[in-house]
């Protein structure tokens, strides 16, 4: 599964309905430069940790600054993984 594709889908879900859609294309570009604020980031992380089966106690101290950092944390602590972006979005409903 393409992690950037998943990240874009989760960002669309997490951000307020009137916000312009962000496009996350680089793993190293800081979230702040992409236009994702701290509240967006918090909501995105909650969705992602749910999808990867990571306990709140484990993730509450995380503060990833880039998609790559987010990816590395998720991979290091995951207990499950969605098979596809479609399946992940279905789980987020």
């Amino acid at each position: 599964m393409n992690f950037l594709e998943l990240l874009n889908a989760v960002a669309k879900l997490a951000r307020p309905i009137h916000f312009e859609t962000v496009s996350i294309t680089e793993m190293e570009t800081p979230f702040q430069e992409i236009g994702i604020d701290s509240l967006d980031g918090l909501v995105m992380m909650m969705y992602l940790t749910e999808l990867y089966g990571i306990e709140e106690e484990v993730c509450k101290e995380w503060s990833p600054k880039t998609p790559q950092e987010m990816h590395d944390l998720l991979m290091a602590h995951k207990t499950r993984e969605p098979a596809s972006v479609e399946e992940a979005m279905e789980q987020c409903k």
């Binding site: 307020p16 309905i17 009137h18 509240l39 918090l42 909501v43 909650m46 709140e56 987020c92 409903k93």
Partner: protein, 369 residues
């Protein structure tokens, strides 16, 4: 002049028995708002708000700024904020994971952004009078502070462990035991009484005359005036039997609307149907107004708490546009004032009433257009 230019409502006549609470009771609710709430990723009041946050209307508001604009979230009681209602494990138990978004003012700020640039974002927690109490704020902001548009979102999740338990203990709601004896929710009636809790939300846009003309809008109604008051009471969760609080709110609203008692022809009562509210509200109405009919919506959609005052007013304006003022459901006596039958809307003004625990009474006067 202050006009109601846009509105959306969410309420339901569907109800279900909740027998896994301390005082089993029927409640009006949207089961879908609880979908996945237990995961902690979804918060019930937000889901309720989404039912009235119409993307097209929000886009219209963003794309058509009119000048100074305010956003008010009338959140009712404290249950909007903080973690989910997890008093004991049942189907209403959940813990919300996004603490910032469950704080009332932060949610207001986030939601206000969807309506465009704001000059003020604020919240109100005046219990069950909240959404009608903020009509006084709407009036003040537009009349005295040069605001052109005030947007009101009112949402409260009354279907929670805390609320069901609290009202059950206070013997304010109808319990399953009472309903089994044949008692039905009603107001101002000698046989039926009380209410069921309900979920509801409303979104309403109030604009100045200048803003209405600028956009060439056809308003739904005019807000003539509003007022809120307290009474001399030693019981913060009770009501004075002489109707002092209701009467002060009504008189104040008429004063600021520059209308007389005989101008008010239709009353949207608070109408919880409790013994105390029946007495205080009926006494105040009888002493204050001259020739009117009164209806109530809590029997139909449940008590939507902080949302109830404005939500029920919008439902009444809709019903009047459809050509009727509905009866108060489950009245057992024939009554042409506290309506036991629906009637055609009489010519005249509408007064809406609401009361909230903590000693607050609110009244607002509207002219249907």
């Amino acid at each position: 002049m202050i006009y109601l230019t846009h509105f959306r409502t969410a309420s339901t006549t569907d109800y279900e028995l909740f027998d896994d609470v301390v005082f089993p009771q029927k409640v009006h609710w949207f089961p879908d708002t609880y979908t996945r709430a237990k995961s902690g990723l979804f918060y019930v009041p937000h889901r309720l708000a989404e039912k009235v946050l119409d993307a097209k209307l929000l886009a219209y508001l963003r794309e058509n700024p009119v000048g100074k604009t305010a956003f008010i979230l009338a959140g009712g009681n404290a249950h909007f904020a903080g973690i989910g209602p997890r008093h004991y494990d049942n189907r209403l138990s959940y813990v919300y994971k996004f603490m910032p978004f469950s704080l009332t003012q932060v949610f207001a700020g986030r939601t206000a952004q969807a309506c465009g640039s704001m000059d003020m974002v604020t919240t109100d927690a005046s219990a069950c009078a909240s959404s009608l109490k903020v009509m006084m704020d709407v009036q003040n902001l537009i009349r005295h502070y040069d605001y052109e548009r005030v947007i009101v979102l009112t949402v409260e999740d009354g279907v929670t462990n805390a609320v069901l338990e609290f009202f059950g203990e206070a013997k304010a709601v109808l319990t399953q035991k009472q309903e089994e004896t044949g008692i039905k929710p009603s107001a101002f009636d000698s046989t039926n009484f009380g209410f069921r809790i309900g979920q509801g939300a409303a979104f309403a846009v109030f604009e100045s005359e200048r803003a209405v003309n600028q956009q060439n809008l056809t308003p739904h109604a005019e807000l003539l005036g509003a007022y809120s008051a307290s009474e001399n009471s030693t019981n913060a969760i009770g009501q004075c039997e002489n109707g002092e609080g209701f009467a002060k709110a009504m008189s104040g609203a008429m004063h600021y609307s520059k209308v007389n008692p005989e101008d008010i022809k239709i009353v949207k009562a608070h109408g919880t149907g409790t013994a105390s509210n029946n007495l205080s509200e009926k006494t105040a109405l009888g002493n204050t107004l001259k020739d009117f009919v009164a209806t109530s919506y809590k029997q139909k959609i449940g008590h939507t708490m902080g949302s109830s005052g404005l939500l029920e007013t919008l439902l009444l304006l809709q019903d009047m546009k459809s050509g009727f003022v509905p009866a108060i459901e489950n009245r057992t006596e024939t009554d042409s004032v506290y309506l036991s039958e629906s009637i055609n809307p009489p010519e005249g003004l509408v007064m809406s009433l609401a009361a909230g625990m903590g000693n607050i009474y609110s009244a607002a006067i509207f002219k249907g257009l």
